[in-house]
Symmetry: C2
Subunit: 360 residues, 2 copies
């Protein structure tokens, strides 16, 4: 016959009643508001502990207008790159008391925008990984997603920071490495045409070409998966190149596997490079020469940018310069969005060597 017996859990009012204070006071105590008598504060805390009271997050969220949660939207949770970004964001955010809601579009890019919007409304901000989304769509979506941090993408017209990887530089380093070893006929086993990071690699290679006129460089259209790499062997062999740059470590490993089956020896007959330096790259046979991308750091940095946005220290400006990354401020249309750029590091392992003498 109690007023309202088995309502839900123990609420703030239960504590208030039992401690003989008002709701407001309990709230103040719970939130560390100092303007409350130490005596009372202590009593309230004791009562709360005794009742095992824990504030209901939903109620707080509504009242405070924030959720302490950010969304991370990725095109494919199965992809090691996005897994690593997610991990980086998640751990860094956790440090600051934020949680992460995941939104996996499962490669269905038509869903991406809806998913991102959905996530945004549930959270205080969104970290968007959308490598395939059209620039126009992104630009249109951006305002409604703010605060948003872009990963490996950029857009004007919004003060959305980006954290990017300089894939162009990375692939140039790899190409230079191969040339240094003596290779003159190179091939790039390309990624998906719609992939933004593929575009950056391509641009980097264009630059490379211009500064290395004597080098032959073919681009072989391909994909981004293990299988794609495996299946690219025919085209690779046909290309006549001796130095092969795969789109990423996954395709490089697929290619490696396929070449191995054909009896083509790496690196004796052919050199192969990957990209990303996923954990497995060092354990392939031979171990993969690759361009290491500090992708977890990218996730962490994405969180830092987000935190900046959330703390309203806004206005762009120079954010904390990330550890090994160069930071750069691009003059944006409105706010001057911050861009962090991470540069891949060349990691030389066993899969590259001088080309066979006959090859010349």
């Amino acid at each position: 016959m109690a007023k309202r017996a088995r309502t839900t859990r123990v609420g703030i009012s239960d504590v208030a009643t039992k401690a003989g204070v008002s709701l407001a006071t309990v709230s103040r105590v719970m939130n560390g508001n100092l303007s409350v008598d130490p005596q009372i504060a202590k009593r309230v805390r004791a009562t709360a502990a005794e009742l095992k009271y824990l504030p209901n997050p939903t109620g707080r969220n509504l009242a405070r207008g924030k959720t302490d949660t950010i969304g991370v939207v990725v095109p494919d949770l199965g992809n090691p790159t996005f897994q690593a970004v997610l991990r980086g964001v998640s751990r860094a955010a956790a440090q600051d008391g934020y949680r992460v809601l995941i939104a996996d579009s499962s490669e269905v890019s038509s869903e991406e925008a809806i998913l991102a919007g959905e996530a945004r409304r549930r959270c205080d901000g969104v970290v968007l990984c959308a490598p395939r989304m059209g620039a126009a769509e992104l630009e249109e979506l951006a305002p409604s997603l703010h605060p948003m941090v872009l990963v490996n993408r950029a857009t004007n017209a919004t003060g959305s920071p980006s954290v990017m990887v300089d894939y162009g530089k990375g692939i140039q380093d790899l190409a230079a490495h191969l040339v240094e070893l003596g290779h003159t006929r190179l091939a790039y086993v390309a990624g998906p045409a719609s992939s933004a990071s593929h575009g950056l690699r391509l641009a980097g290679l264009e630059t490379f070409k211009r500064s290395h006129p004597g080098i032959e460089l073919k681009v072989l259209p391909n994909g981004s998966t293990f299988e794609d790499g495996y299946n690219s062997a025919d085209a690779v062999v046909a290309s006549g190149a001796s130095g092969i740059m795969a789109f990423n470590d996954l395709t490089a490993m697929g290619l490696l596997s396929s070449l191995n089956e054909r009896g083509i020896r790496v690196p004796a007959d052919m050199s192969v490079t990957g990209f990303d330096d996923i954990p497995f790259a060092r354990y392939t046979t031979p171990a993969l020469t690759t361009a290491a991308v500090p992708i977890v750091d990218v996730g962490e940095q994405a969180w830092r940018q987000m935190r900046e946005l959330l703390n309203g220290t806004a206005g762009g400006g120079t954010s904390a310069t990330p550890g090994q990354a160069g930071s750069e401020v691009a003059a944006g249309t409105t706010a001057a969005p911050t861009t962090s750029i991470f540069t891949p590091t060349l990691v030389v392992r066993g899969s590259t060597a001088a080309p066979p003498a006959t090859g010349r």
Copy 2:
């Protein structure tokens, strides 16, 4: 000078006013409540679209007492197994309109309980992967986490369903496979002592031993990472075994790599098996014989169990039997928790063969 101009976004009352109806009606329309005149419904919908109104999830959450979100707590987001579970849960949940909040304890198991509780309060339920948590702690935690689904763990005293992988059966299959090939001296390169799934493998091996008295089987303490596998080579060689079962694919790959460096040929000199069948397992050289664990399916099934719980169809009982999994109902203390058991499948690849003739 408007009443309350730039409050926040467009809210339900804006729509109500503009459409000339009450808040209640707008709510009803937005929630597909049929008891509203089609004419009015249409008008409301039009107004909502015009104003780009989208209901504020936090408000809904509070009013409905649910969040359409579940938490997934994992000990390590870097571990492929948990990544796969997460992916399975996330995608399956998304199908049913639920989102996933991730809680990564980063291997800090002392944080696990707090993290799980935290997640639970923000969500409608929790999927808990806590292979290292003590049984006692788990049991104590369980009630406060309900509704909860356990992955690769079980607990009485709560009606919490489990979805498990029969690691014991899997390792027995691997051992049998090796024996069938002619190996008589086996070694199990163990996982972390505190790992529950390691315990299951161990138990399976005990069973195996009993039914194969003539076979020698050594257990070599080790860990769960690539590095651990790599570093186990000494012990493996010293064991004198010709058939090696690694804790998982990761350690198997590390071992493979290390053996390769020592000039020990797999499978000519030594056979090696993994466990899990992670995507990379088929691309190692030689390709890894392993016990395939449908781990994404585990995640999916975890979601189904959760959905069952959430829909309150509760009471345990026989849930939908998962595709290739055996389903089994254990007689629980109270509700009779449902347990889904997935059995690994033996996948024979190139890393196993008959032992060298000399070995005998």
